[in-house]
């Protein structure tokens, strides 16, 4: 307990948190990654998938942002590529028609927006888990390789796995 006590006799939480972070950095030195690094690797992986799919880079940036500005919305801006009196007429007509259209589109679009959001989180979290599992898998494989390279127990050729196999069959 004494190692946590400061000169004023109190336990210093900031110092403990510093030690915890130091310990986590130590894990990275042993080939284990922190959650922040898993996050960064996941973002890179997601970007690579999006590049393969040829997604508009602007949309990709919005998809990676913390807000939900990429999603569809029931509301929309009324515009036209025309100019002059024709443009004003088209915009007016569109504005007149919009309430009727929204009567039928608001509910399915709103539902679709929720589904989009759910799938977005699902995919991002799946990629994150995949990255984490791949890292753990690599760490375990490296450890096994290292163990396989070590000399066996003195005076015997059988590996621990072999002994286990014999017991199981016996």
């Amino acid at each position: 307990m004494d190692e946590w006590t400061g000169s004023d006799g109190r336990v210093d939480v900031a110092a403990i948190m510093g030690r915890i972070r130091e310990k986590i950095r130590g894990r990275r030195d042993r080939g284990l990654y922190t959650d922040e690094e898993v996050e960064e690797l996941s973002a890179l992986r997601l970007q690579a998938f999006a590049d393969d799919a040829g997604i508009d880079p602007d949309l990709l940036a919005r998809l990676m942002a913390p807000n939900h500005n990429w999603n569809i919305s029931t509301d929309y801006r009324i515009e036209t590529h025309r100019a002059g009196p024709a443009a004003r007429l088209v915009v007016l007509l569109k504005k007149l028609v919009r309430p009727w259209i929204r009567l039928y589109t608001d509910q399915p679009l709103s539902r679709q927006a929720q589904i989009n959001l759910y799938l977005h989180y699902l995919c991002h979290n799946l990629v994150r888990e995949l990255v984490r599992l791949q890292i753990e898998h690599t760490a375990v494989r490296n450890k096994l390789d290292a163990l396989a390279g070590e000399p066996g127990p003195p005076g015997g050729e059988a590996s621990p796995g072999g002994e286990k196999g014999e017991k199981a069959s016996g």
């Binding site: 307990m1 109190r10 336990v11 403990i16 972070r21 310990k23 922190t34 500005n69 509301d75």
Partner: protein, 394 residues
């Protein structure tokens, strides 16, 4: 002095941090002043359905005047506009519509305030985001005190609250972090007021040794108290805890006290305890190794204060500036942002019981220094002096 408290719901049956906070402060100020609570007849914050009798009544010796809510919340109308103003570009008109849909729309309460504001020396409004506060405070801002109970969520970013925060004579912030957050996000520097928070009313003591066997909490356990829902960070907390438990094979239980709105499979290590009387809850906290508070959005965690009152350390979500700040100021627990920090903190709290006890004691000292009722009432007296002396900006 005659003081009116204005709050969206009120009563002993109301489960809600801000409402309980309001009730406790009103009851303590009623020992020195003539206090009246102006509120709605609703008990459910999701529907605002009128459930209580309108008119004058009394709750724990405090006069309560209830007004009916004009219309219930319509989820079909509220959800789209809430989604729009929180996550998309939107107009001022949509923000005003959000305020109406959010509710509780209570025109009779507003009319009473307009008609009788001269009868009150000061008005204290709880929770900035509700219709009753937003419109009620504008009736007599020069004698109004606002208790924002603001969290770092997207509602605080709405443009309609920028000028609103400049109106009250004084603001009772829950924590220094809440003050910084409000001033930064609403673009208002040096808002009048001070950091107050709340005390905790301790129910009659129940012996810890009696409660633990009754609740079947005999081994080492961690405790969570509050609404059990993903928005409070409970899903992530359970996921982190089970992962830590699998990795360490520790024989520790996570006991969840409160009403659950999420589904999860209970097992030997994660147990739903439900809602228990306050005395039992505090006894359970007193015997726990630590209290976990995973929420990312808090303006003041009363549960954390309860843990410190009972001398126990806390493990909080470090992404919440308020909780992290409280823990660092009190030296009363640890915090985490990622699983690895969560696991390392639990390793320490479970592996070094003496360290956990000392953190809990330090939290207890901090609670006594800052949240004893005498201190809280002193601070409210100073704010009332600001409101009645016309020292505000209204």
């Amino acid at each position: 002095m005659k003081v009116a408290f204005v709050v969206q719901r009120y009563g002993t049956e109301i489960v809600g941090g801000a409402e309980l906070h309001c009730r406790w402060v009103a009851e303590h100020l009623a020992r020195r002043h003539e206090v009246e609570v102006l509120t709605t007849t609703a008990t459910d914050y999701l529907t605002w359905r009128n459930a209580l009798e309108r008119g004058l009544s009394e709750v724990n010796g405090v006069a309560v005047r209830r007004f009916p809510v004009a219309r219930e919340r319509d989820i079909e109308r509220f959800d789209p506009v809430a989604n729009k103003v929180c996550f998309f570009e939107h107009t001022d008109e949509e923000e005003r519509r959000w305020a109406e849909e959010h509710g509780p729309v209570c025109p009779e309460l507003l009319a009473h305030l307009r008609e009788h504001e001269r009868d009150y020396d000061a008005l204290i409004f709880f929770s900035y985001r509700y219709w009753t506060t937003y419109f009620g405070l504008q009736v007599a801002p020069h004698k109004s005190i606002l208790v924002p109970t603001a969290e770092h969520d997207r509602v605080l970013y709405l443009r309609l609250f920028r000028p609103f925060y400049r109106l009250p004579a004084a603001i009772a912030f829950n924590s220094p972090e809440e003050r910084i957050l409000i001033e930064r996000i609403t673009g208002n520097e040096n808002l009048p007021g001070e950091v107050v928070g709340t005390g905790i009313d301790r129910p009659p003591a129940i012996p810890v040794e009696e409660v633990a066997p009754r609740l079947d909490l005999l081994g080492d356990y961690l405790v969570y108290v509050g609404r059990i829902e993903p928005e409070k960070g409970c899903a992530v907390m359970i996921d982190h805890f089970l992962r830590w438990q699998r990795e360490t094979r520790a024989n520790v239980t996570l006991a969840l006290f409160g009403r659950s709105t999420m589904t999860f499979s209970e097992n030997a290590h994660v147990r739903l305890m439900g809602v228990v009387p306050d005395g039992e809850k505090l006894a359970a906290i007193a015997r726990a190794r630590a209290l976990v508070m995973p929420s990312r959005h808090e303006s003041l965690s009363m549960v954390v204060l309860e843990a410190w009152m009972m001398g126990r350390p806390v493990l909080v979500n470090g992404d919440c500036e308020v909780l992290r700040g409280q823990v660092l100021r009190a030296d009363g627990g640890l915090y985490y942002r990622r699983y690895e920090e969560f696991a390392a903190a639990l390793d320490l709290l479970m592996g070094e019981p003496a360290l956990a006890d000392r953190l809990g004691r330090q939290g207890g000292e901090y609670f006594e220094e800052n949240y004893a009722w005498e201190r809280i009432v002193e601070k409210y007296e100073r704010l009332l002096a600001m409101a009645t002396g016309g020292g505000g900006r209204g």
